[in-house]
């Protein structure tokens, strides 16, 4: 026995996750109506391709729009004292960011002002610490740990399936210290990436 034809379930779930609630029924209903029209006219495979195409086109727009109208975003007020990041968490993040900081900031200063801080820093911190700073795995590992700690501290992503609808909730916690550390980690990571591209890829072009 043939199963009744229906739109791709995964595409529907993805759309349900980002659609603003008041539009969800009408939007999914319209897609399903046209899906059945296309399936009758041009076959099931064509209808499924069309459904996926519509889904992939709509997902970025709908996600941005849902954020814009506050359907996905929920900014919570700073939580109870016990939920705040303890000071040692911030100190730990800074420690993990230190190798990247010691590479990127003197490098930037050298490019902007010509001051040879990397060499001076090398003399200052001594050969043991210098080799530690020069180890890319320590720098990238530190960045990764700091990014993870601070992302977890500020973002709470929840996926709820109520049967009728699927909701994706991003709860951004207002924790200035963590947001600053997160921004710093992203900045350092991007700086290193741009440096690596400029040093290794551009000369080959």
């Amino acid at each position: 026995m043939n199963r009744p034809l229906s739109p791709p379930a995964l595409a529907q779930k993805l759309l349900q996750a980002v659609l603003p609630q008041p539009l969800a029924d009408a939007f999914l209903g319209d897609l399903e109506e046209h899906f059945h029209q296309l399936a009758a006219q041009r076959g099931a495979a064509h209808a499924k391709r069309w459904y996926w195409q519509e889904t992939l086109l709509a997902l970025p727009r709908l996600t941005l729009y849902s954020f814009e109208i506050g359907e996905l975003r929920r900014l919570s007020v700073t939580g109870p004292t016990s939920a705040r990041q303890p000071i040692w968490g911030t100190a730990l993040s800074l420690l993990f960011l230190l190798p990247a900081l010691l590479i990127v900031i003197p490098g930037l200063l050298f490019n902007l002002t010509g001051a040879d801080l990397p060499t001076q820093l090398g003399n200052l911190v001594g050969p043991i610490l210098k080799s530690w700073i020069d180890n890319p795995w320590i720098i990238l590992g530190g960045l990764f740990v700091a990014l993870t700690i601070n992302t977890i501290a500020v973002a709470n992503v929840r996926f709820e399936d109520t049967g009728e609808s699927v909701r994706l909730t991003f709860e951004i916690k207002k924790r200035p210290a963590n947001l600053v550390l997160l921004a710093l980690a992203i900045f350092l990571g991007l700086s290193i990436l741009v440096y690596l591209i400029a040093e290794n890829l551009l000369p080959l072009l």
Binding site: P20, L23, A26, G29, E32, H36, A58
Partner: protein, 106 residues
Amino acid sequence: MKVISRTEEMILLAVHALAPQAYGLAVGLHLKKLTGKPWSVGATYIPLDRLEKAGLLASSEGNPTAQRGGRSKRFYRLTSKGLKALAELRKMNEALWAAGPDFGAS
């Protein structure tokens, strides 16, 4: 009055043309037919919702049908504010085109 975008203008005109059967899919197919360009359902619903929030459109729900997976259609109609916005837009377009190139002259 905030000047509405070209897409929003086209959607308002399509809703007017299709009334009282103007719903998202029909609006998109109407515009696709007239412009010859593809209109995704997502590209139709976001402006429809913005225009409704701005008070230029109003909507009401139809009955759920099996063809739509048991979901209802949302029918849109122009409000008096929407009609007024279209009239002002037309006046503005005519004023702009009055000083535009004359394509009829050879």
